[in-house]
Amino acid sequence: MLCMSGVNDFVVRFANVNGTGSASANYLFAKSIFRMGVPVSAKNIFPSNIQGLPTWYEVRVSEKGYLGRKEGIDLMVSVNPQSIKKDISSVKTGGYFLYDSTKKLHDEFLREDIHMIGVPLMEICNREFIDPRQKQLFKNIVYVGAIAKLLNIDVTVISDLFADQFKGKEKLIAPNMKALGLGSDYIRDNYNFPLEFRVERRNLVGDAIMIDGNAAAGLGAVYGGASVVAWYPITPSTSLVSSFEDYARKLRIDPITGKNNFSIVQAEDELSAIGMAIGANWNGARSFTATSGPGLSLMSEFLGLAYYAEIPVVLVDVQRAGPSTGMPTRSQQSDLISAAYASHGDTKHVLLIPSTPTECFQMMTDSFYYAEQLQTPVIMMTDLDLGMNEHMTEPFKWDDNRKYKRGKVLSEGDLEVIKDWGRYKDIDDDGIPYRTLPATHPSKGSYFTRGSSHDEYAAYSEDSATYVRIMDRLVKKLETAKKLIPGPDFYNTTDLSETGLIYFGTSKHATEEAIDILKLEGETVDAMRIKSFPFNNRVKEFIDSHKKNICN
C-alpha cells in the first residue's frame, strides 16, 4: 500500500440519517481541513430518498493532493443505528469508531481490533439545548467538535467558517460554537488526543477554491452569457440550474428597472426543455438546459433536429448510474455513446468532458461559443460526483477583454451587401454556413428552418445529390470542430510504454493516482485524458502509438 494513514493522510466516514442536516456539518469538517492548507476531498453518498434512509459522507485527507476515493476507513463517525452493523464492519483494523454512546452499544457490534470512541451526543444535546430542532441539529456539530479535537483541527478555523456561514444571522454563531465546544470538551475529558493520524497545518492548497461542479457550471453559464434557461428537475442536474438562478439573481438584475437580464422556465418535461433552449438559440439568445440520463434519452429527437437544422444549443448531462432510472444518486459516466450519437439517422454531437469544477466553469463558458461557432448542439458531460460534491479546484479566471463571439451571424448591413446568400452554403470551406436571426432585415435573410432535408438555400429538397452535399458538409463541420474544441491532456506520457491508458471525466483522480503508484513500483504507463468528442487527431495518434490501450 502506497499511503499508510498518518498525518494529513487518512479517511473519515460519516454515517447519518438522510434529511437530518448532517451534510452541512460534515462539509464544515472537510472545509476546515482545506482552510488548514491541506488537500481534502469530500463525497456525499446519499440515497434516492428525502428522509430517513442511511446516508454517508466520506472525507479523504491527502497531503499529496490525491482527490479520488481511497479504500479503508480510518475513522467512522456513526450516528445512524440503522446502518451501524455495516458501518462498524467497514472500519479498517486499528481504526476508530466514534458513536453516540447515549445508549449502550449492542454487544454484537463490538470489534476487538478497532478503537471505540463513545460520545453521548443525544444526552449532551438534550441537556444543553432547549429547542427540539436544536437538540436534533446540534448533534451534528457536537460530533464535529469531537473529531476536530481528535484530529487536531484548529478551532479558530471552524469559528471563521461559522462567521462566513452565518453572515447576517450572527446570533447563530454562539450556539454553534457552544455545540462545537461540547464535543471537543468531551474528548478532552475522556480520550487521548490527537490521534496518530491527524491534521497539521500546511501550505498545500495554494489559491485553490472549494466548490461543486454544478455550482461552477451554473456560474460559468452566467459568465458565458446564457440568458434563457429551460429545464426540468432531475437529480443530479437540478442544482446546476439553481446555481445559475442564484448567481443570476445576484449579478444579472438590471440596476435601473429591477428586471431580469435572463429568464428561467421550469419546463413540463425534458422534451420541452430542450425545445425551448433550441428556440431561444435559434433566435440568437444563448440558452442551455441541464439534465441527466433519462432526460437525455427524451431529448434525442430534438437533438437530431438541432444537428441537422444547425441550431446552436448547449446541454449539460450530469450523469448518474443507468440503465433507465438506475440509481439517481450514484455517479457514473455511462451516457457517452448515447450522447455522442443521440438521435436516429447519421447524427453526431460535440461533447465536452470536464474533470474538475474549474473545467466545468471554463467549458460551460466556452460551450456557448462552440455551439454558436459550430451551429450545432454541444453537450457537456459531467456526473454526479463532479456535479454534486465539493471539490478542491483551481480558482476561476475571466479575461475582461473577452468578447462573446457569436459565430457566423449576419447583420442587416451584411445582408444588404451579400449577394446570393444561402443559409446552408459553405462559404469558408470549413463546413460552417452563415446564419441570420429573425427580424434582422425587412426583405433579406429570411429562411425556413426545418428538420427535413434541404438544399443550400434551406428549401425542402428530396434530391439525392443535394442531400449528399449537405451531409458531407456536416461531416466537414465536425472536422472543423475537432480543431476548435479542447484536445486531450497527457499525464506522465513518455512514449516509452507499450500500454496507453485512456480516461476522461471524474476518473481523472483515481487514474492519475494509480499511474503514480505504478510509477513508484517501477512501471511506466502512458496516459491520455480525453476532454472532448469528436476525438482530436492526437487521440488516434496516441492509440496507434501504443500496443495495448486500456480505457478507464
Binding site: 444579472r252 433566435n283 475582461d400 427580424a439 428538420g451
Partner: protein
C-alpha cells in the same frame, strides 16, 4: 421541393400604411392538395397580416409536422419560419419568445400535431400564457400520413374507408378555455369574413391566443358521414356573433353602441366589435362560454366566432419579470459580471 412564386409587384397594387402590398405577405406556391382547407387559412393569414399592417420580418412562423405545419412556407416569405419536430412547436416558440419578446409569434399546427403527440406542450404553452397566436388547422385526421383518425375526430364520424370512430373527440377550444387560455376562437376555413378579423384580433392580443379552425381534408376526410367535411361544417356552423377588428380605438364612431354590440378593448387599444347573436353568452365570462359549448354539442352544432377573451391577461415575460430589451440584444456589459466579481466569488469559496 417548394416553388418560389414569381414576384412582379404590380406598381399600382394597394399598399398598407407601412408601404407593403399584399404580395409582400405571400409565400411559395402551396404543394397541398387542391381544395385543402389549409390553403384557405393561409390566405386569411396573408390578408390579416396585410390589413394589420405588420412588418413581415418581425413575424416568426412556427409549426410542427403535418400538411398543416407545411403551410408557413405558403405565407409570409419574408418572415423566418421554423418547422419543429412533430408536436413540439409550442416549446420552440416559447424559447424563441423568451429569446426575443419583441416579435410576433404565429404558430400553426394540426389536430394530430396538437391533440395527439403535442398535447403536453399544448397544455403548458397555454398555462404559461406565451404571447403568441396558435392556429390549429383541424381536419379531424392525419392528412400527411394518409388519413388516420385524429384525437379531434368526433365520436361516430365516418372516415373515407367507411370506418366509424369509436372514441370521443377532444374539443380543443373547451380544453384551452379550461386550461386558462386568454383568447379562444373557433372558425371555419371556408369563412374568410369571420376568420380574418379573428386572426387580426388574436395577433393583437397580449398573451396566448388560440384559434381552432375547422379545415376539411379534401383527400381523406371530406366524405359523407365525416363531421369535418365542407358540407357538414357548413350545415352545422353556428356563429356566436359577427365580429370586426378595429385596429385603433379612435375609429369607432357612436353608431356602434347598439344594444347587441359589444366592444372589447385589447391591450394595445385596438377594439373587437362583436355583434352578438347568442344572448346568454359573454366572451368575457368563462362559464357562459363553457356552458354554451356544451349545449351546442348536444345540438350537434359547431359554435364559431370569438369564444372567450381575458383582457387582464399577463403574458409570460411579464409574469417572470424579464427585462424589456429582447434578451438576444443584451451584450457583454449586461450579461457578464466581469473578473472583479469573479475574484470575489473565488474568495468566498476559499
Amino acid at each position: 421541393m417548394s416553388y418560389i412564386k414569381p414576384k412582379f409587384a404590380h406598381p399600382r397594387l394597394p399598399k398598407n400604411p407601412l408601404g407593403y402590398t399584399r404580395k409582400d405577405y405571400e409565400g411559395s406556391i402551396s404543394t397541398l392538395c387542391a381544395g385543402c382547407g389549409h390553403d384557405s387559412i393561409s390566405a386569411s393569414i396573408v390578408d390579416a397580416c396585410f390589413e394589420l399592417n405588420i412588418e413581415p420580418h418581425k413575424v416568426a412562423k412556427m409549426s410542427g409536422i403535418g400538411c398543416s405545419s407545411k403551410t408557413p412556407a405558403y405565407f409570409l416569405s419574408n418572415s423566418h419560419g421554423f418547422n419543429a419536430v412533430h408536436g413540439r412547436m409550442p416549446s420552440v416558440t416559447t424559447g424563441a419568445n423568451l429569446g426575443n419578446r419583441s416579435m410576433v409569434y404565429l404558430g400553426v399546427s394540426g389536430d394530430g400535431d396538437t391533440a395527439s403527440i403535442g398535447m403536453g406542450q399544448f397544455t403548458h404553452v397555454i398555462r404559461r400564457n406565451v404571447n403568441m397566436t396558435y392556429i390549429v388547422m383541424n381536419n379531424g385526421c392525419y392528412g400527411l400520413t394518409k388519413g388516420q383518425d385524429s384525437a379531434t375526430a368526433d365520436y361516430g364520424s365516418v372516415s373515407k374507408s367507411g370506418h366509424k370512430n369509436t372514441f370521443e373527440g377532444i374539443d380543443l377550444c373547451l380544453l384551452a378555455i379550461e386550461l386558462g387560455a386568454t383568447f379562444v376562437a373557433q372558425s371555419f376555413s371556408g369563412d374568410k369574413s369571420q376568420l380574418i378579423p379573428i386572426i387580426k384580433a388574436a395577433l393583437s392580443h397580449s398573451g396566448f391566443s388560440f384559434i381552432n379552425v375547422i379545415s376539411p381534408c379534401v383527400t381523406f376526410n371530406n366524405n359523407q358521414g365525416s363531421t369535418k367535411s365542407y358540407d357538414y361544417v357548413r350545415e352545422h356552423n353556428e356563429a356566436l356573433s359577427t365580429l370586426d377588428f378595429v385596429p385603433i380605438k379612435e375609429e369607432i364612431t357612436t353608431t356602434y353602441d347598439h344594444k347587441e354590440i359589444k366592444l372589447v378593448e385589447m391591450h394595445d387599444g385596438s377594439l373587437i366589435r362583436l355583434n352578438k347573436i347568442s344572448p346568454e353568452w359573454d366572451p368575457e365570462d368563462k362559464l357562459s362560454i363553457i356552458s354554451a359549448i356544451h349545449k351546442s354539442k348536444s345540438r350537434e352544432e359547431i359554435l364559431t366566432g370569438l369564444l372567450y377573451i381575458d383582457n387582464e391577461s399577463i403574458e409570460l415575460n411579464e409574469l417572470i419579470n424579464t427585462t424589456n430589451t429582447p434578451l438576444n440584444k443584451l451584450v457583454e456589459k449586461q450579461l457578464c459580471p466581469g473578473s472583479e466579481i469573479l475574484e470575489s466569488i473565488n474568495n468566498d469559496l476559499r
